[in-house]
C-alpha cells in the first residue's frame, strides 16, 4: 500500500526511458527524416559497384580488396560494368570521396564508430575533387541486375545483388 507510490514512480521512469526516442524526436522533428548531407564526387557518376551495394556492403568490398592486394598481389578490380580499377583505398576510394564529408558523416549518422582503417591509411594530398553536396536519398529500386544474382534466396532477402566481390575473397 505504502509502496504503491514507489511502484508507480518506477513505472513512470521506465515509461519515460522507453519513450525517450519519441520525446527527443518531437523536439527536433524538423531534422529527423533528413539523411546526412554527403559530398558526392563531382567528376564521377558511378562507383566501383552499384550504389545500393556500396551503401550496404562497402566494408565487405574493402576487406576483399585488402586481402587480395596484400596477400595475393592482385591489384586490378574489374567492376560490374567492365571498368578496371586499382584496388586502393587512398587512390581509388579517396580519389573520389572525401573522408570527412563522406565516410565520417555517414558513419556518424549510422552510429558506426570510425573504423581502424584510418590509423594507417592516409588521405590523398589533393583531397577529393568533389564539390556537389547532395542528400543521399534511398533508392526506390534495387540496382539493375539484382534479380540475376545466382544466390536467389539471399538476393530475395537483401533486395539487391549480393556479392559483386570475387568469390575467393576473404
Amino acid at each position: 500500500m505504502r509502496d504503491r507510490i514507489w511502484i508507480v514512480a518506477g513505472l513512470a521512469v521506465f515509461v519515460a526511458l522507453i519513450t525517450a526516442p519519441f520525446w527527443r524526436a518531437r523536439r527536433d522533428v524538423g531534422d529527423l527524416a533528413k539523411l546526412p548531407v554527403l559530398t558526392l564526387p563531382a567528376n564521377q557518376t558511378q562507383c566501383v559497384a552499384p550504389v545500393a551495394y556500396m551503401r550496404a556492403s562497402h566494408m565487405k568490398l574493402l576487406m576483399a580488396w585488402r586481402y587480395q592486394v596484400v596477400r595475393e598481389d592482385e591489384r586490378k578490380y574489374v567492376a560490374f560494368n567492365g571498368k578496371v580499377y586499382q584496388k586502393n583505398l587512398t587512390e581509388t576510394c579517396l580519389g573520389c570521396h572525401n573522408k570527412e564529408q563522406f565516410c565520417d558523416r555517414c558513419h556518424a549518422y549510422a552510429g558506426v564508430p570510425s573504423p581502424y582503417c584510418w590509423s594507417c591509411h592516409n588521405q590523398p594530398q589533393a583531397g577529393a575533387s568533389a564539390v556537389s553536396a547532395a542528400a543521399l536519398q534511398p533508392q526506390a529500386q534495387p540496382a539493375p541486375g539484382a534479380r540475376r544474382s545466382p544466390d536467389r534466396l539471399l538476393s530475395r532477402m537483401s533486395g539487391w545483388p549480393v556479392s559483386p566481390v570475387p568469390r575467393r575473397a576473404q
Binding site: M1, R2, I7, L11, V162
Partner: protein, 337 residues
Amino acid sequence: MSALYSLLAVLALVAAGLEGGRTGAGRDALTLIVPYAAFTIFLAGFCVRVLRWAWAPVPFHIPTTCGQQKSLPWIRQAKVDNPSSKWGVLARMAAEILLFRSLFRNNRARMAEKRLILGESKFLWLGALAFHWALLLILLRHLRLFIQPVPAWVNGLERLDGFLQIGAPQLYISDVILLAALAYLLYRRFRDPAVRYISLFTDYFALFLLLAIAVSGVLMRYFVRVDVLSVKQFALSLAAFRPVDLRALSPLFLAHLLLVCTLAAYLPFSKLMHMGGIFLSPTRNLANDSRRKRHINPWNYPVKKHTYAEWEEEFHDKLVAAGIPLEDEDAGKAHTD
C-alpha cells in the same frame, strides 16, 4: 509437440515478414500499423500488469530467506540473504536483478550410490546471466538507430563490444554470447526430460522468437547486409510520428521488425513479464522483520466484538433462572472447591 507448434508459429512470422512487403498494403501494415500497434500494446499492457500487481494486497512481510536472521548480537546475520533493513533489501534486490542470486542456488537432485544427492547446477544460471546481459547490451546498442545525434556512450558501448578486430563489420562479442546462451537454453529444455515435461508452447515460443530475432539481426549485420541508413531513417521517422515509406528496407529487415514487434506485443501477456515482475516479488523485496516489528494489515476494519462476559451480562437473569452457573460469580467458588 508444443516445441514444433511454436517453431512453426515463429517460422510463419518470419515468412510473413519476408513476403509481406511485396504489396503496398503489406508494406504499410508491416512498417506502420504493426510497429505502432505493437508499441502501444507493449506500453499499455506493461503498465496495466504492473499497476494490477501494485494494487494487489501484500498485507504482511513474507520474504523467503536463505541465511541467518537478525538475532542476538553475537550471532552473525546474513545481511543480504536475510535482510532486516531497507539497505539490505536493496542489496538483495540488486543481487537478484543484476546477478540472478536465486538462480545461483539452483540444485539438481539425483540418485547415486543409493542415496539422494543435491548437486550443483550452475549452467542454467550461467546461461541465463549471459543471455540477459548480452540482450541488454544489444538493446542499448540499438539506440544508435533511434537517437540522432548518436550519444557518445552508445558509440563507446559499440567500441567495447566490437573490441576484437574480427572481420568487417566487426564482430560483436555480445552477438556470439547471445546466440550461444539461447542455443544452450533451448538445448536444456530438450535434453532434460523433467524440464521437457513441464515446457509449454509459451516456453518454446519465447525462445524461438528470441532466437529468430537474434539470427535475423546477425544475418543482417554480417551476411545479407541491409542499408543501415534507410533503417535509421525509418526508425527516426517512426519516432517522430512522420513515417516515410522506404522501398530500400529489405525483406529481411521487415522480418526482423515483425519479430521484434511480436515480441513487444506478446511480452505483457507472457511469462516474459518477469522483466517487470522481478521488482515486485514479495518474497524478495521485503525485509524479514516480522518478529521484531508488528505488521498490521492496513485495511483491517474495526471488527464488531461480542465477548462472553457481555453475553453473560445480557442474559444474566435468564441464566440464573435456568440454574446455569455464571462464570464471573462462580469462578472464585470453583477455585476454592
